[in-house]
């Protein structure tokens, strides 16, 4: 029997992997992909609770999260492209002008 805890556990594992990816990677593209992983984990959580509680609101929130994820990907990738034009690289370590 697959319970809510299984889904929450999976979603949280996915979220942890996403956080680790954001923290360890140098490549901005992969960092953005890890953020998408985290958003997916949140969606999975919402859907699982929606099923457990028999409430449709989780589905609607997930749709809005997908909308925001699409906008975020578009803007993020545009920023990466302009950073590449500026620096000739998409490494996070190369964009450190504001480092104190």
């Amino acid at each position: 029997m697959i319970t809510l805890t299984h889904y929450v556990g999976l979603s949280f594992l996915l979220f942890s992997i996403g956080v680790t990816g954001v923290l360890i990677r140098r490549n901005l593209l992969t960092v953005l992909m890890s953020i998408e992983l985290m958003l997916n984990a949140v969606n999975l959580n919402l859907i699982a609770f929606s099923r457990q509680l028999g409430d449709l609101n989780g589905h609607l929130f997930a749709i809005f999260i997908i909308t925001v994820a699409a906008g975020e990907a578009a803007i993020g990738l545009a920023i990466i492209v302009s950073l590449y034009r500026l620096k000739g690289s998409v490494n996070l370590d190369d964009a450190a002008e504001m480092k104190g």
């Binding site: 697959i2 809510l4 805890t5 929450v8 556990g9 999976l10 949280f12 594992l13 996915l14 979220f15 942890s16 992997i17 996403g18 956080v19 680790t20 990816g21 923290l23 360890i24 990677r25 140098r26 490549n27 593209l29 992969t30 992909m33 998408e36 992983l37 997916n40 969606n43 999975l44 859907i47 099923r51 457990q52 509680l53 028999g54 409430d55 449709l56 609101n57 589905h59 609607l60 809005f64 997908i66 909308t67 925001v68 994820a69 699409a70 906008g71 975020e72 990907a73 578009a74 803007i75 990738l77 545009a78 920023i79 990466i80 492209v81 302009s82 590449y84 690289s89 998409v90 370590d93």
Partner: protein, 186 residues
């Protein structure tokens, strides 16, 4: 064995393997393909949870739209680097430790005393049907897409319209940011 149990474990395994692939692959292109795998497996998990419409949206928007955006950007920035250069940053050791602590922290909460009320899931009728009633009639509409549509266009109409404005702003922002020269723009 109940097929839904079997498919849960299959999709869960694919999800986790794909996610690990995203953060461990050296080439961004390989990461993107693993990300696609994860998106599709999560869509499968959505179907197991009676979220058929969301599974379709997941495939269309994530596996279709966002993935194409990623692949286009990988093509545009054309990252080619030597194999010996590290693909993780200098703080990778500490970062993995931080991720692991997050894992322990949330895992401790999750396995601790009653975060969620245990018990079988509620009746999924609300996810599969919609009841539309006014003073004279009461109609029960079947279907998950119909239920989501009624929720979206009736209960969440204002957020829905705001989301459309948001997408317009994001589109204009992406065009402006992606333009070759900002000086020529104004």
């Amino acid at each position: 064995m109940d097929p839904s149990v079997f498919f849960f474990w299959v999709f869960a395994a694919i999800t986790v393997v794909g996610a690990l692939g995203v953060i461990t692959m050296r080439q961004p292109l390989h990461s993107a393909l693993f990300l696609l795998l994860t998106f599709l497996a999560v869509a499968g998990l959505f179907i197991l949870q009676h979220a058929e419409f969301l599974a379709a949206v997941q495939v269309l928007v994530y596996a279709g739209g966002i993935m194409v955006l990623f692949l286009f950007t990988i093509m545009l920035v054309n990252v080619r680097r030597q194999a010996k250069e590290p693909f993780v940053n200098r703080r990778a050791g500490i970062a993995v430790l931080a991720g692991f602590f997050l894992f322990l922290l949330v895992g401790g909460v999750l396995t601790g005393p009653a975060l969620v009320k245990k018990g079988p899931p509620a009746d999924p009728a609300a996810l599969k049907t919609t009841v539309i009633e006014n003073s004279t009639a009461r109609v029960v509409v079947p279907g998950n897409s119909e239920a989501v549509a009624w929720g979206l266009y009736r209960d969440y109409l204002l957020p829905f319209e705001v989301a459309s404005v948001f997408l317009l702003v994001a589109m204009i922002g992406a065009v402006v940011l992606g333009k070759r020269s900002l000086e020529k723009f104004d």
